[in-house]
Symmetry: C2
Subunit: 346 residues, 2 copies
């Protein structure tokens, strides 16, 4: 399967040289031509078009998933009038989508939050990852169908770009369900593991817990989201700093508290305030910066170039080699093909 994240020009040139054309060569320009402005053209077009991002949160109920989402996007996506799913939905695993259009500095973001209320809440949690897998695959399938249509006027993208996986702050390492879930999902979605409600761990405990988790992740060959390589020194420093703190320990809060005259999101305890955005209290700021300010586009690109491409090639290979579906969800594809036929797709 696909390992490379994107195909750079230099790679393409290599292949072109072999395949079809003569490359006259590299030429040094005599003056300013102006194509250095191309990235600006791309920039402006992207602003005009707007952005879409789909974020999935998975973890047992009570780990503060809705609260963290509110804290991340500084918005009451969930409120008393529209509470988080755990207050509305019964305890079987469901997948729920909410969309919100937010705007900042002229940039529009259509944010989709995919929640999985009921995950891990049953006595027997066998297969509780299945609805999640089905959801992710169905979004890939939607996209594949849209892409295969004769008329592709609209290409809605509901693919899940990132999955925040909430680990209970037990201090005892991963549960079997955590391992099982991540192993089954890591080739379908970018997983970022989080330690939920990290304000129940002392800094030393948290440090130990993180080490333990990363050890288990390596042992079980779980592939969490991998940061892109970069030649930029500053960026690579930043990435190293994030990597060293994985899994990120987070605290969320819907409450604004005044601390030393400043209004901050935090949790008021008798012994003090756990501040959400204080880097000494938890890794929330690191998570937000990474998820939103620096790596959101990369999460989208990896979803498109790696996870979606793998899904697509698996799917198509199954059709082409045998004319029938070899995948587990047998019958599904045949239906799709028939549906496509009716819709005049292939």
């Amino acid at each position: 399967f696909i390992q490379n994240r994107d195909s750079s020009i230099s790679k393409k040139i290599k292949s072109w040289q072999n395949i079809q054309f003569k490359l006259i060569g590299k030429i040094n320009l005599e003056g300013y031509v102006g194509f250095a402005n191309l990235p600006n053209q791309v920039y402006r077009k992207s602003v005009k078009r707007g952005f879409e991002f789909t974020l999935m949160v998975v973890g047992e109920s009570g780990l503060g998933k809705s609260t963290l989402i509110n804290s991340l996007f500084l918005t009451d996506l969930y409120s008393p009038e529209y509470p988080g799913p755990s207050h509305r939905i019964k305890k079987t695993v469901q997948v729920e989508q909410s969309k919100v259009l937010i705007k900042e500095g002229g940039v529009q973001l259509l944010l989709t939050i995919v929640d999985t209320p009921g995950f891990g809440d049953a006595v027997d949690n066998s297969n509780c990852w299945q609805p999640v897998i089905d959801h992710i695959d169905s979004k890939f399938e939607d996209y594949l169908n849209a892409e295969s249509r004769v008329n592709r006027r609209q290409m809605p993208d509901s693919r899940v770009h990132c999955c925040l996986y909430f680990i209970a702050p037990s201090g005892h390492g991963l549960k079997p369900l955590d391992i099982e879930f991540m192993k089954r999902l890591h080739e379908k979605v970018n997983i970022i593991p989080l330690i939920a409600k990290a304000d129940t761990l002392t800094p030393e405990e948290c440090q130990q817990f993180k080490k333990q988790i990363m050890r288990e992740i390596q042992e079980h060959k779980i592939k969490i989201y991998e940061f892109p390589e970069t030649d930029d020194e500053e960026e690579s420093k930043l990435v190293k700093k994030i990597k060293d703190r994985l899994p990120l320990a987070v605290v969320g809060s819907n409450t604004i508290i005044e601390v030393n005259g400043k209004r901050v999101r935090g949790r008021q305890y008798p012994w003090g305030v756990a501040e959400v955005e204080n880097g000494e209290h938890c890794d929330f700021t690191i998570l937000r910066n990474m998820l939103i300010r620096t790596h959101m586009q990369d999460l989208k690109d990896v979803t498109n170039n790696v996870h979606y491409e793998n899904y697509r090639s698996r799917k198509l290979a199954a059709v082409t080699y045998n004319g029938v579906d070899n995948n587990k969800n047998k019958g599904q594809l045949t239906k799709t093909l028939e549906k496509n036929k009716k819709k005049k797709i292939f």
Copy 2:
């Protein structure tokens, strides 16, 4: 066929609301979340990846096509060692590609120049557009095949993003061949008409000639490249200025001349110097700014979203509705399909 150039978020939201999801609503943010940085992420990624652009030049030989290319990219793409195609190639219409990798301000551009030596040079020029059409279509087909492959690791894009069509500075309007060519190509490629060697026309003659040409283009319902609509006032002013000067009258030169102590590209006549980059002498600067500095990305997007999509839907519709190819190039598609089968595409 597709008329809209790109599908903006707001259009998508409308369709989504009808189709599948509840949109919680627009929410005003309490503070800075950081996704306003998304366009910067896109910017940086585009620089990292590099750019590709394919420019086609069409027109009778002797109209200064190679010289104009040299002038546009400030480079001796064609030189005494590697002369323009007219000095190398016999007078039947051929299509020739040259690639050059140029770098400016950290931005890499892999530029492909497609030349059509011999175009319009014969006594009987019937069908001399056919090699050009075939070339454009074959690049679309290459892309369609690449896109349909199970394994899409590499997606070389050789599609022609823009066609500079050189009109002889006759002062007498378009020739029948000009009209025929543009009508046959205008739904396949972005055509920008140019008046070649405009230094043979006085400003008044040039003005008249331009009006005449635009009248004929309208009469014959020729669709030349249409500039994108914009809400930005400055941009829309700029676009109006360009539109008012269509077709652009250009002068190219490989010679650097000193004029008033400044070294400029120009043509030295006994009565003075025709300066390539002087806005009062010709529209070269307008062409270069538009083609390279402001609208290169849009030319690529229109190629992808309009011309390529039209090609693709025609092609696929022909397959789906009848199982056989209805297009003129009969047999071609069947071959492709068989080829695809072998390659395990679809």
